[in-house]
């Protein structure tokens, strides 16, 4: 079954076409990647998919349901959860508290419940607490659970952001350049986490610059350049694709000078 379907998404900023009729599908449980040179329109595409931005034309379907035009929080509530290129942690909160905020989508209760604390509320809090510990173990952050989030090294901040997104139990996780700024060990740890998330049945789409990472973990790759989709396929197909090589090396004669 198709979990995400992007159809003819076009985004214009004045005269600039950031996304030009981009279409692709992601099936349930798939690990896909969107790649392309700087300025190709990847983040714009992510903003459209996650509901942070409305496309000029085109539509996005999530689990068969039209989500274009919905506010971002409603898209997230349906189970399409994203992370950002620049980490967006709750800096003053502890690592554990950061993860606990992630359960918003899958829990209930407002002011009245918080005040009266009925039994279901307390049971829910207990469930949140135990699930938080599981997630801390899942990304290997238990040792630093009580630290403030912005005291963590950058690689662990990335892992924390993923753990917090997982708390929302997404059926599709969008990761915007998760490996940006990470060293080799940190990237390996992140790749491991992403693969384990995917093995649990969560579909993942990542935008990424790190080619090695993408080729290693993605099952399907969509390549965009100047806002257009120029290729789509398995890592092996993409590596051999002439237009992709041209885009990345600046033309077939690109290295000749």
């Amino acid at each position: 079954m198709t979990v995400l379907s992007v159809k003819d998404v076009t985004v214009r900023f004045g005269g600039l076409i950031a996304n030009d009729a981009i279409s692709f599908d992601v099936s349930e449980g798939m690990l896909a990647a969107v790649i392309g040179p700087n300025g190709a329109g990847k983040t714009t595409l992510f903003n459209v998919i996650s509901g942070a931005m409305e496309p000029t034309s085109g539509t996005v379907y999530f689990k068969g349901e039209l989500i274009t035009g919905l506010p971002q929080y409603e898209v997230s509530q349906k189970g399409l959860v994203r992370t950002y290129q620049l980490v967006q942690l709750f800096k003053d909160l502890s690592v554990r508290a950061n993860i606990m905020t992630g359960f918003h989508r899958v829990t209930k209760g407002g002011v009245l419940a918080a005040l009266l604390r009925p039994r279901w509320f307390m049971e829910q809090e207990a469930r949140i607490a135990s699930r938080t510990e599981e997630l801390l173990d899942f990304v290997g952050l238990r040792a630093v659970a009580d630290m403030e989030a912005d005291k963590l090294p950058y690689g662990q901040q990335r892992l924390l952001e993923v753990a917090r997104a997982l708390a929302a139990e997404p059926s599709l996780l969008l990761l915007d350049e998760p490996a940006a700024g990470l060293n080799i060990q940190e990237t390996a740890a992140l790749a491991d986490v992403i693969e384990r998330v995917n093995r649990q049945g969560v579909a993942v789409v990542l935008v990424e610059h790190d080619m090695q990472l993408v080729m290693q973990i993605a099952q399907k790759i969509v390549v965009i350049d100047f806002g257009r989709k120029i290729a789509e396929g398995s890592p092996a197909q993409i590596k051999a694709h002439p237009e992709v090589i041209a885009a990345y090396l600046g033309g077939t004669e690109g290295l000749d000078d």
Partner: protein
């Protein structure tokens, strides 16, 4: 495993001592000192308790949710005038008048906040400031209801049915208990799904959105909660003093409450209370310095903000056990 459990129970116990037992003990100690002192000290501590309620509410919006409001005095005025008019002119029960004013303030906050909270940062601050100014103007101009600059007098003390708290010391006990109730409610709301959503918004609106949090709705909820606290503070003031005028809820209230909030520690549980107490008492402590009073007052405030940038309640970290982190 067993030793691990013991240490975690121990640290939980220590946390409870630090965050509940010690502060509550301090509050009762201050209350005890006030009760054995002159009427003037009772009045001062009473004001501190009322401001403690106001600032605990403001802390919801500015501390937990990270939004600026320079106009919460508008809702204190609503509460104050609501209670004053209903009890002095219509002879309502003070408790009933307080509750009705609370609801009215909450409804008006929701109606006014809905369009206003679309603004952010400085623009939100300006818009809320205007809210305070408009309320001030109304309280002056609506003569038939508020008696303008003259103010309203003859407001009965707090009470319920036949029982009236005529004695100021009894009133102080009630004010302190209401303040503690306010803190208790704020802690309960903070440590819940609701409170976590607010703190997510303060941390990053983008991330809050991505986690499915309806940012506009939760900001509005925090604004309404803060307004309800402000309204209660206004009502308590009216009954404690027995007289209100527009000046009471003027711009000076905004400045005073901001000083209290930042001095005590914005976003902390007890910060607003500590701030309210110190800012209320400091001018009196310094009174003996005569013309140097204002200078020393300012120096003390600046010194506190320099040496305790997270507010005085941030200093309790000094008594906390060291956080164990990785060597990085």
């Amino acid at each position: 495993m067993t030793s691990l459990n013991i240490t975690s129970t121990n640290s939980k116990l220590m946390d409870a001592v630090r965050t509940v037992v010690v502060p509550v003990a301090v509050v009762f100690a201050v209350l005890g000192i006030a009760l054995t002192s002159s009427g003037y000290v009772v009045t001062l501590i009473g004001f501190a308790a009322i401001y403690g309620v106001f600032c605990t509410g403001l802390n919801f919006f500015m501390g937990y949710t990270g939004q600026a409001s320079f106009g919460q005095n508008a809702f204190a005025a609503l509460g104050g005038y609501g209670s004053a008019v209903l009890t002095a002119n219509y002879y309502w029960d003070p408790v009933l008048a307080l509750l009705v004013s609370m609801v009215l303030s909450g409804v008006i906050a929701a109606a006014v906040g809905y369009p206003t909270l679309r603004l952010r940062g400085h623009y939100l601050a300006m818009a809320t400031f205007a809210l305070g100014l408009i309320t001030y103007e109304i309280s002056i101009e609506w003569n038939s209801l508020t008696q303008g600059y003259m103010g309203l007098s003859g407001i009965p003390p707090l009470g319920m049915g036949k029982y009236e708290l005529v004695n100021e010391k009894h009133q102080l006990i009630v004010l302190t208990l209401v303040m503690l109730l306010g803190v208790w409610v704020s802690v309960r709301l903070r440590d819940s799904r609701f409170g976590r959503a607010l703190r997510a918004i303060a941390g990053s609106e983008a991330a809050a959105n991505a986690l499915g949090i309806n940012v506009a709705r939760y900001k509005l909820a925090a604004f309404v909660v803060a307004a309800v606290y402000a309204s209660v503070a206004g009502s308590l003031f009216a009954h404690f003093v027995g007289f209100i005028s527009p000046e009471v809820f003027g711009a000076s209230m905004v400045i005073l409450s901001f000083t209290m909030l930042y001095l005590g520690g914005v976003g902390t549980t007890w910060g607003p209370i500590i701030g309210a107490l110190i800012v209320s008492l400091l001018p009196e402590v310094l009174r003996g310095l005569k013309e140097m009073q204002d200078v020393v007052y300012s120096v003390v405030l600046i010194a506190i903000l320099i040496f305790a940038p997270r507010g005085l309640s941030g200093l309790t970290v000094l008594f906390q056990r060291k956080q164990t982190g990785p060597d990085v």
